[in-house]
Amino acid sequence: MFVMNFLIRRLAQGVVIIFLVSLLIFTLLRVVPGDPVRMMAGGMAPDALIEQIAKDMGLRDPILVQFGRYAAGVVQGDLGQSFVRPANGAATGGATFNDSSRGERAEVFDLVVDALPMTLQLAALALAFALAFSGLVGIAGGLAPGRWPNKLAFYISSIFISLPNFWLGIVLTLLLSVKLGWLPAIGYNGFGYTILPAIILAVELSPVLIRTLTSSIAAQMGASYVAVGAVRGLSRSRIIANHVLRNASVPLLNLLGIQFSGLLGGVVIVEYIFDYPGLGLLTINAVLQRDFPLIQGIAIVTSAIFVLINILVDLAATSIDPRLEY
């Protein structure tokens, strides 16, 4: 009963957030200068033709009218069609714009669904790397406040947070794939191509995880149940493994929920450098080509994932620590 109530409330809030995100993106795209029709029709197209096309596509209506039309489609599961990408996946280009060919353009939904699994694979691997590494460094640091593992954790996180992801991508490509030939780097041609981008993302994610883990473990070690556990005859390793880690993982879980949009920002850059065919590359191309429906579709899908992840995180946190209420 409690879980049902919780789910209904959070899903309702989630719908509000998704609605606000799409409204925000929708308005922003239309307020900012840069005419998508100009991009589609090519620089040489006469102004009259551009106006004509824009009118036919409804791009000259008031923003709220356009948004209403779009939202009505989204509610029925229709994210619209890309402005520039053809369905057959051939090269994009505006010069051949021709209104009768509109039907051939790719569905935003298909584009997103094709790219999403690639990005999820990358994100999952990055998260696994980041958790393994920051678990090692963070737990050691949290158990030894004031001593060298703690200092090490502090300096590692300070240095990692200072490495620009695109630069690290270039340096590691140079080292690991050009000089040493250990890992493949550019494009996607099998699972091996995920490893290097995932390492870059993991480096970007780790600092916050290490900091949180260190401080929450240090705080838990000072709690009275740790001292009582020793009196009850539990070994130190058992107290740490069964009780401290369990309690210390709650702030970590919450952090993962918040870090999601940061991770997504990193994904955009990393996929761009490595030419990895995921959602990030799709996003950056869509933004640079002013492909409004595609940007909106991606924003809706990612904010939906954001909402779902945060609901799952809160559910997991309540099952770990039943005192928490949401």
Partner: protein, 305 residues
């Protein structure tokens, strides 16, 4: 600095009577991370302020005879005149990097100032007045926080001309919700305090309570946290430059030097990697100082000394 550091030797009862901001600062100064960070930062700051002018090398001047020279002690044709080597058209990498650092730091600081102004204003209003204004502001922050700021920045700078003010405003606007939330939460707890109620009873209006009582007390700890954001903004500035949406060439910035050097990665690795090393060092120094301040702030809020 000298008079500030000597204050740390004061007995603890005196410390307790100091403002929270000064106690945080004193605690941070005692940590080794803060000292390492500040020394590194001052060296880099002096280098970026004086070296380009003192060396008399123009960061945009080409010299085809001295093109693609490697950094010191690498390869066989390195020279003392170009400690970090030269790029594909013979421009000195050290000067270009240090000039890039100037722009990066300038944009980083200015965009944090913009963020602070907007974020703290909204957060203060939301936290102090509560109710419907609070609900509206918080939902807007929710929505904006779920969109990665880099996408917003690319979307806007991709079409408008990426001048320095435009970049500062875009970066500043993209991060304000974080500060709105921090400010709101401290404001909400503080407005319940007795001295605020006393001021209200004695007839002070809301504006003067906020400006004379609450902000001087609550703002300094937030300012300490914002040092970490200067580093984040500098990274974002370099990402934008890398994508070609930052300050435009021929002005050297970290982003456009690295993007340029990427093309010559195979035969001149130093063009892309050296500026990044400098950026990394600068950011590390800022992050060490910022984290030391943050650790000190957390310790003091938990009531240790």
């Amino acid at each position: 600095m000298a008079s500030l550091t000597s204050d740390t030797e004061l007995p603890t009862p005196m410390l307790a009577s100091q403002s929270i901001a000064r106690r945080i600062f004193h605690r941070a100064v005692r940590s080794s991370a803060f000292r390492v960070g500040i020394v590194l930062f001052v060296i880099l700051l002096l280098a970026t302020t004086f070296y380009p002018e003192l060396s008399g090398i123009d960061p945009t001047k080409m010299n085809v005879k001295a093109r693609l020279l490697p950094p010191l002690f690498f390869g066989d044709n390195w020279s003392w005149a170009h400690p970090l080597g030269t790029d594909q058209i013979g421009r000195d990498m050290l000067v270009r990097t240090l000039v890039g650092l100037r722009y990066s730091f300038l944009i980083g600081v200015l965009s944090v100032v913009v963020t602070l102004l907007i974020g703290c204003a909204f957060g203060t209003v939301a936290g102090y007045f509560g109710g419907r204004i609070d609900a509206v502001i918080m939902r807007i922050t929710d929505a904006q926080l779920s969109i990665p700021m880099i996408i917003l920045a690319i979307a806007i700078l991709g079409v408008s001309r990426p001048t320095i003010p435009a970049i500062v405003i875009v970066l500043g606007l993209s991060n304000w919700p974080v500060y709105a939330r921090i400010m709101r939460s401290v404001m909400m707890t503080e407005r319940q305090q007795e001295y605020v109620r006393a001021a209200k009873v004695s007839g002070a209006n809301d504006a003067s309570i906020i400006l004379t009582l609450l902000l001087p007390l609550l703002l300094p700890p937030v300012l300490f946290t914002s040092i970490l954001d200067i580093a984040r903004m500098m990274i974002f500035e370099s990402i934008l430059g890398f994508l070609g949406l930052g300050v435009q060439p021929p002005t050297p910035t970290f982003g456009n030097i690295i993007a340029d050097g990427r093309k010559y990665l195979m035969n001149a690795w130093w063009i892309a990697t050296m500026p990044g090393l400098f950026l990394g060092l600068t950011l590390t120094s800022i992050n060490l100082v910022g984290s030391a301040l943050e650790t000190a702030r957390n310790a003091i809020h938990e009531g240790k000394s």
